[in-house]
Symmetry: C2
Subunit: 326 residues, 2 copies
């Protein structure tokens, strides 16, 4: 492991000069070349740990998400990554599994590694960001809000629930159920409110199911809805994976769109169905990632304006009337 001292010795300069060469400070052309040659020869790779310790901050951004197996979040991650990479940061991805304890561990790691900042999709509405905030670590909430005064990038979840439900109603469905995510997760609660506004029911209605935002949750919820004495004739799936689960159950039961209405909040990843048979509210996952990374990088750069929340637009794509899912 060559160090700047060895490079300096070989190049006949001081360690400070080596450091300057690698940090773009002014160094005479001749010495600069000598340093570069020596570095090459010794296969010198600067030690980031030492630099980070000295500088008190690293060029690493933490992206903390609840489910790495959900394409919504991987797509979001791509957005963060692309933007961060372009600005010279690397991104480390941390998976919380919707578990506040794991989340807390990762946030402590971000602190103790002197990471430049954090993009966080909170696992709950009680995420504890005190430690980060009091240490002045920039942090941007994404997809879900927090109780702290920090930057955020969201979509209008209530509108998403509202427009998905409205589209089904407009297509003639009368008994529209909802499968939403766990209580206490902002996206789940807001989408539920949007649904309730349209159907004129309260949020504890018989046609509401809470599930875990994954495929198996969607399956279980859909199964239970179909077993009701008076089953619904349409369903809004509160996220992409539960949409997949619901569709699996429906196709298994031979209840396909468009007879049985299906609306999904999110994109249907990797589907082989004809997508135009299904109403979708497309969420700008990747763009959310890009936006969050951009805001974070501004903060890292010293921007001190008051906390901002950016709300990105969803896109309703209603099912094409009469199109069969297959």
């Amino acid at each position: 492991m060559a160090t700047i001292y060895e490079v300096a010795a070989l190049a006949g300069v001081s360690p400070a000069t080596v450091s300057r060469v690698f940090n773009g400070a002014r160094v005479s052309e001749g010495k600069a070349r000598a340093v570069r040659d020596a570095a090459e020869q010794l296969r010198f790779v600067p030690n980031r740990t030492a630099r980070t310790l000295r500088r008190q901050n690293s060029e690493v951004i933490a992206l903390v998400i609840p489910d790495i197996e959900n394409p919504f979040f991987t797509s979001l991650a791509r957005g963060v990554e692309d933007r961060a990479q372009a600005a010279g940061y690397s991104v480390v991805l941390c998976n919380t599994d919707e578990d506040p304890a794991k989340e807390s561990t990762y946030l402590d790691i971000a602190i103790s590694e002197n990471m430049a900042g954090v993009v966080l999709a909170p696992a709950s509405d009680h995420s504890d960001l005190h430690r980060l905030i009091e240490r002045n670590r920039p942090i941007v909430a994404i997809d879900r809000g927090t109780s702290f005064e920090i930057d955020g990038v969201m979509t209008d979840n209530r509108a998403a629930g509202h427009s998905a439900t409205s589209a089904l109603a407009a297509a003639g469905h009368r008994r529209i159920a909802l499968i939403t995510g766990p209580e206490g997760i902002e996206t789940a609660d807001e989408r539920l409110r949007g649904w309730a506004q349209v159907v004129g029911a309260d949020t504890a209605h018989d046609y509401v199911r809470r599930a875990n935002y994954r495929v198996d949750g969607g399956r279980a919820a859909m199964t239970s809805l179909l077993e009701m004495p008076e089953p619904p004739d349409a369903v809004v799936a509160g996220n992409n994976l539960m949409g997949v689960g619901a569709l699996q159950v429906l196709t298994g039961a031979g209840r396909m769109p468009p007879e049985f209405g299906v609306a999904v909040i999110g994109d249907l990843p990797f589907t082989t169905l004809r997508p135009t048979a299904i109403t979708r509210v497309q969420l700008p996952a990747r763009q959310m990632g890009v936006t969050a990374a951009t805001m974070l990088i501004e903060r890292i750069g010293g921007d001190t304006q008051p906390a901002r929340t950016v709300v990105l637009r969803n896109t309703l794509v209603p099912a094409t009337p009469g199109v069969r899912a297959l």
Copy 2:
């Protein structure tokens, strides 16, 4: 940012004692409690950067994969993560986009951050691991081999290609095409060889398509196959996402399984089709991750036995005769 010095002062002990408390070394009960109280009070979080610099290695493992949006790799990542977490390591996920240059950057970061080790799914068969190896950083190849003498966790890709193709032949298909991945990627080349063994053709046959291992690649390849003068009557998709792409095109064209045979190497993520209509060679993605992490952790612990390659079993699940995809 409290340091061990401040904690030491408050607790009335030396910095070394504080360090010992946080590293499980023997400290008298009274002082230990004093330290813990002081740390609590100051919201002390140990600085990992300093520890890493001093110790010359961190508790972070890098997992370097070519496509974070591919469920095969996220599933594998879950395996690595679970195992690593259990052993006290955190995992940072790096996405190379199948780009050797990006891969090289991430490997350099792993070195310069003194990371404990690397699990790498190589972007090409020319990945340069010299720098890692000469610095004694443990490294395990996963899914794809390298030209270096290092530990590896693979599946038998030739067998996968062979059994997928055989299953289609056994179901009566006579013109079996193959959509495989890019040249120079071991999994793609080996699956192709397995296919060739069964159909008795060479690997440059008309029915072979090379695509990019993503959905759009599968779509393009399948489209081109269907446009042939004498189109195939079955297809082997070389990975999960190309399987999705192929199925999208087939369902769009009304050529569903079982009339048109489809075999996929990998799992069909989030499908709404009846899976028993499709032949699958299931790959143990998660288990590969667990195994690789286990091997890596052994190496980090100082294990110096010769390089091992573990080959995990695939599972052929032939399509159930007569079952329609929908």
